[in-house]
Amino acid sequence: MKSIRKIASMAVLGVATFAYAGTALAQTELDFWSWRQEDVKAYNEIIAAFEEQNPDIKVTFTAHEATSYNTILTTALAGGAGPDIMHTRSYGSLEAIAAPGYLEPLDGQIDLSALSADELLGTTLRADGHVYAVPFASQTIVVFYNKDLFEEHDVALPETWDEFLAASQKFKDAGVIPLANGLADAWTMEIMSGAFLPNFYGKDFFGEVTSGATDFEDERFVNALEKFSTLKEFMPQGYEGVDYATMKQLFNVGQAAMFVGGSFDIPTFVNAGVNFDIMPGPAAEAGGPRMVATWLDGGYGVNAASENKEAALKFIQFTATQPFAQMLTDKLANVPAVDGAEISDPMLAKVSAMHEEATPYIMLVAFRFNTPTGSTLLQNGLQELFTGKKSAEEVAADISEGIKSAE
């Protein structure tokens, strides 16, 4: 009964709205799909701000389950349906929907001047060089550290690799786990490598390896792996079996002094009430750069088959402006891709400041387009390296060979 009454009242409301819209002004309705279920409230507020400026457009935000979002979206698009506007992933996953022509090219149609070339790289199709989505936020790999433990054991914040090892040794001697990280969830090893490898292989390596001037058997990369693997001494006992949940637990309860993770881990530790701060990975040598690995999380794209393309582009243009970026950081605690936003959250401001010395998160940014992906090669290689199954040279050779064999 209740549902019947509900349907009836909705029908009445629907008719009333329709009649009202018909008399007042013709409204264009846009569907907006996303995987950010936790962000529905914030997006509705952002959309309300847009609708205020554009009363002739109405945007409906729908969030799907995150892990199956790619499948839901591609199935809908392949079936000639799908939303007008959508949250897209970046790099390789963007290509999966941009290459078959499901997305509208944006360059030339909207103003992208508030975005840097690095950020646009994540939403550009390599085959034709067009931009298919407006980048929205980036993620950064940082070293979390427990301020109380550093104080209690009188350990100075390490700035160089040698200092990092010394600090870790000091914690180990005091019976504190220096690094919470483990091997069991392979992806967390790739994340961890993002804090250390770049400072060893240096600024130029990314450009050279992506252009083909060198490969992963390069001495710089092998050396970086070699150095990185010495950290296993400072990981928890049984680190081979320590998974992501256990890692966070160790850091949460103050059993581990440091944790290498992504900026996406910040809310977890804030909620757990840990007295922590963040720092970039250590420099290879005193005075050297302390680079942080960053990548673009995703973007906003327009369905090429949308019947409301004009209105959709209007909304997408809005996402490429400073007011939007400001709301994104204020309401969603993201480091926005669009320039000019004032970041109010102090932890986030710190992350953003680290971007002065940013380096692309190498495998995700450049080698997740073909099979086998650089990520699976690196993750598996790191597991083999840290369990002592293979040496740094062998792992580098496997990665290099795998990348070359990828179509």
Partner: protein, 321 residues
């Protein structure tokens, strides 16, 4: 219908025919839901997997017909077949280990229960209880038990002075698969136990009594009377274990992840299929073509071998006359 009415002569015949018709209608009515479900969720997906496997796929978009191209890619491309070979042999290991440990233990338990020891109802329920639990729950629960730091298993080992044995079970390529097999055995051992027990109960008591009177030892009774007479149950369990081992997915997926962590030591055909067809965050995008080809190959393999095994095992079953 005209013919039918013509042949009806007496009211009695009429009633019989009507009853027969009703029966047919009832049968159709009762079979329909099962058939519909089978058709939609078993035969149709199977047919579409075969259909998909002969096309080139760009993500979810179907490309051109390429015949056996996908099969060739799965079987002979060194980038794929090294995973296929690795996963296949892991499945073989799982099958052998489950036959020995899970079903072997089940047989011992069944022989033990068949003697109806004191409190045997309790044991029967206790052994069977894990079977009714969801695999997902068991996977997560054992992942916690095997946690190298907080886990129950290692804490126990340390407390009894076996600290050296407290290794990160799921983190080492040498122990991860073994740990998962033991978890599976713990989960499922009650099922073969129950089947074996039922088979033993079906053996006439006087046969065993007679043997006992003739002075046969317990071992001889088990080997020469019980074992041959429970052959049909063994056939069922061997075939089911074979199918289960080669379709093994939940436990490795929950405890080792989609990539068969660590270093593909727990990779299974099922995981490989899932990664290939649907993609994963780090393994890249989905490829329905090679994924379907792989699924078809797995199906052909399991179907062929379980048919041969059933034929062979049935032929050696003995009948009590």
């Amino acid at each position: 219908m005209a013919q039918l009415t013509k042949s009806i002569k007496t009211p009695f015949d009429n009633a019989v025919v009507r009853r027969r018709q009703m029966r047919k209608l009832w049968l159709a009515f009762l079979l329909f839901p099962a058939m519909a479900i089978l058709l939609t969720f078993v035969f149709l997906p199977m047919a579409s997997a075969i259909w998909y496997s002969v096309y080139e796929w760009d993500g979810l978009v179907r490309g051109e017909f390429i015949g056996l191209g996908n099969f060739q890619e799965v079987l002979f491309d060194p980038r794929n077949n090294k995973f296929l070979i690795n996963a296949f042999f892991n499945n073989v290991k799982v099958f052998i280990a489950l036959m020995v440990f899970q079903n072997g233990l089940a047989l011992i338990l069944a022989l033990f229960l068949a003697r109806e020891p004191k409190g045997y109802r309790f044991y029967q329920i206790a052994f069977f209880l894990p079977v009714i639990l969801s695999t997902v729950i068991i996977g997560f629960q054992w992942k916690l038990f095997l946690n190298p730091i907080f886990g129950l298993v290692n804490t126990l080992l340390r407390n009894v002075g076996l600290g050296d044995w407290a290794v990160p079970w799921l983190g080492l390529p040498e122990t991860a698969l073994g740990a998962m097999i033991l978890v599976n055995a713990w989960h499922w051992v009650g099922f073969p136990t129950l089947v074996f027990l039922a088979a033993i109960h079906r053996i006439p008591k006087d046969l065993i009594e007679a043997a006992r009177l003739d002075g046969a030892s317990e071992w001889m009774i088990a080997r020469d009377i019980i074992w041959p007479l429970m052959a049909p149950a063994v056939t069922i369990i061997v075939v089911l274990t074979f199918i289960g081992s080669f379709n093994w997915f939940e436990i490795p997926y929950i405890m080792g992840g989609l990539e068969g962590s660590p270093s593909y030591s727990t990779d299974m055909l099922g995981l490989l299929f899932y990664r290939t067809a649907f993609g994963s965050v780090s393994a890249g995008n989905s490829d329905f073509g090679t994924g379907s080809a792989l699924a078809v190959l797995i199906f052909i393999f399991i179907f062929t071998f379980s048919t041969i095994a059933t034929r062979y095992l049935t032929s050696r079953e003995v009948e009590l006359s």
